[in-house]
Amino acid sequence: MKVLIIEDELQLAQSVIGYLSGESYVCEHAATYQQAMEKLSIYEYQCILLDLMLPGGNGLQLLEEIKKRQQQEGVIIISAKDSYDDKIKGLQIGADDYLAKPFHLPELAARVYSVIRRRSFQNNNILQQEELQIDLLAKTVHIHDKPVLLTRKEFDLLIYFLGNKNRVISKNALAEHLSGDIADMLDNHSFVYAHIKNLKRKLHEAGCGNYLKTVYATGYKWEV
């Protein structure tokens, strides 16, 4: 699956490429409005990461151009401007998601994962991994074809891990994912531990393999 990163800050683009490459993503980078237009006219992408502040043009304008082409790719806006207006405008034009900088790379990976699922697998909302079967639309989980009851947060965590397979995810990133803006107001993130413990227990009790690993005390990893 191809991802285009339209971002003028080289360091950021390289980091995103470094994190997303490897799994099943092939990443390309455009640093300006013109470069982005050129790449978009030649190649097809499943997901586009779009920074709104670009040299040579406005990101929202670029978004309009992308949407005119009526392709299946999903667009995630990544912006340093945490502006409510831009967010509304971007989503109205047709972006799938909006992430305000700074965010965690696993968060981005999870969003890319779900955008691609939504866009490219419209008729297939079932995720299958060995004995684990997840219905994204109905938000249900089956293990060995038996339903497992998860809370909303446990389900969220599971999808998050599946979007970050084989990656170490810090507790910080998980806390931010679960509680958004509120999370970073408190440093005590032991609630993350509580949710993960419950998720692990439920998966284990239903006979699911031990995919979810704790990496020392500070991180977690979904290993397959």
């Binding site: 950021l12 700074p102 965690h104 790379l105 910080n172 679960l178 509120i182 032991s190 005390a217």
Partner: protein, 427 residues
């Protein structure tokens, strides 16, 4: 406090009073001297007339004696008596009881004693003229002076009123304009043209000061906003690099710990930066949209979002909501206000504590258990309490303050019965 014009008026009146009071003895001395001088002259003229008329009559000694006796009877104020010899003239000034009208009391007389000879015999002529008594003169002058003083006083007050109403009007106008000036909602002040040099200078410099202030305030706000924006990218780079570093293999527990600690410090910087940006945005009025929000419902829906944090510290939330009402505010700001109030309560509560939320149509009071009162002086200021807690940004209450300012609400803190009470009052 006394007004500027009254101050000068008082001094003017005091000065006028002193001058007029001093003028009373001066007038008296002058009037008395003129009076005395004129009477002396008058006595001299009369005595000379008598002398020459008598001498020209050429009376015999008997006739003279009879005439003198008659004269002395008819004109008691002049006494003509035979004298031992001719002496030089002399004058005197005496007070004497009135023989004929005793009720009049003492009268003052100016006298002249002159000597001349008739038929070779020396005679002494004593002439007296009634003169105004000193106390009467003083009284009359004093009455006139007091009257003039009163006229002056009335005039001063009247003129002063007129002056303050007219001459100082531009000054009071300017004063009013400066009073209504608010740096948070800066509007250029235009002073009226007065045509008076002092006021024009004042206005010119005030205008310079105010525009300078507005400009530097604007620059400061823009600076914060720009600085915060500029920081977003490097903060993102650090965050990304740490996330990448976390993927490296092999990873030791120590390295993992270091990354975690770096993440925590980074989270605090990010938070401070976000809050500074938020403050700048509120100050720059970038939240103009308003909608009617049912606060009781909002709070009831909000508490479940906090469940994770409440569970972490085993905190209990007690809601005490009375009434149903709506506030016309920006929803984002109201949510930020609530988040900050709740986060403060959670952060500063001891584990196992209680958070009480009381809400009615006039105010919201958030109470959490605590040990000692906070220093109220710097509480709602930026970075006022930052040292107290490692995770606090020191900006939460400043943001609450700024939101309250925006809507004209009152924020207040007090410590009561082991509870920190933060209240927001909007009516």
């Amino acid at each position: 406090m006394s007004k500027l014009l009254n101050k000068s008026l008082k001094i003017f009146i005091l000065y006028a009073g002193i001058v007029l009071a001093g003028s009373i003895p001066a007038y008296y001395v002058i009037v008395d001297l003129i009076w005395e001088h004129e009477l002396k002259e008058h006595n001299l003229i009369v005595s000379e007339t008598i002398k020459q008329n008598l001498q020209s009559l050429s009376l015999s000694d008997e006739e003279l004696a009879a005439s003198v006796a008659l004269w002395n009877k008819l004109r008691p104020e002049t006494q003509l008596q035979p004298a031992a010899s001719l002496l030089p003239d002399s004058t005197y000034n005496i007070y004497r009881k009135n023989k004929y009208i005793p009720t009049k009391g003492k009268d003052r007389f100016q006298g002249l004693i002159t000597y001349f000879s008739i038929n070779g015999k020396p005679f002494r002529l004593t002439l007296e003229t009634n003169m105004e008594e000193s106390h009467e003169t003083i009284m009359a002058i004093a009455v006139v002076t007091v009257m003039f003083f009163l006229i002056l006083l009335g005039g001063f007050i009247f003129i002063n009123r007129r002056i303050s109403a007219r001459l100082w009007r531009p000054f009071y106008n300017s004063l009013e304009k400066i009073q209504s000036f608010n740096l948070h909602k800066p509007q250029e002040i235009h002073f009226d043209h007065t045509g008076i040099a002092e006021f024009e200078t004042l206005h010119h410099h005030l205008h310079k000061l105010i525009t300078g202030n507005i400009a530097s305030y604007q620059q400061q706000k823009e600076f914060i906003q720009h600085a915060s924006h500029e920081l977003q990218t490097p903060l993102s780079v650090i965050k990304f690099k740490l996330d990448l570093l976390h993927q490296s293999k092999p990873m030791t527990e120590e390295q993992s710990d270091i990354i975690d600690q770096a993440h925590q410090a980074l989270a605090k910087v990010t938070r401070v930066n976000k809050n500074l940006l938020l403050l700048a945005k509120i100050e720059n009025s970038q939240f103009p949209e308003k909608e009617r929000i049912d606060l009781p419902v909002l709070i009831e829906h909000y508490v479940p979002f906090l469940q994770d944090f409440l569970d972490d510290k085993q905190l209990q939330v007690q809601l005490n909501i009375t009434g149903s009402f709506q506030l016309s505010v920006n929803k984002t700001l109201l949510e930020i206000l609530l988040t900050n109030l709740f986060m403060n309560a959670i952060r500063y509560s001891e584990p196992g504590g209680i958070i009480q939320v009381s809400l009615d149509e006039r105010r919201l009071v958030m109470a959490n258990t605590g040990n000692e009162a906070l220093d109220t002086d710097h509480l709602f200021r930026r970075f006022g309490l930052s040292a107290r807690h490692p995770t606090g940004t020191g900006l939460g209450l400043a943001i609450i303050h700024e939101i309250c300012q925006l809507y004209g609400w009152q924020e207040h803190y007090r410590f009561e019965n082991g509870f920190h009470l933060f209240s927001i009052q909007w009516a």
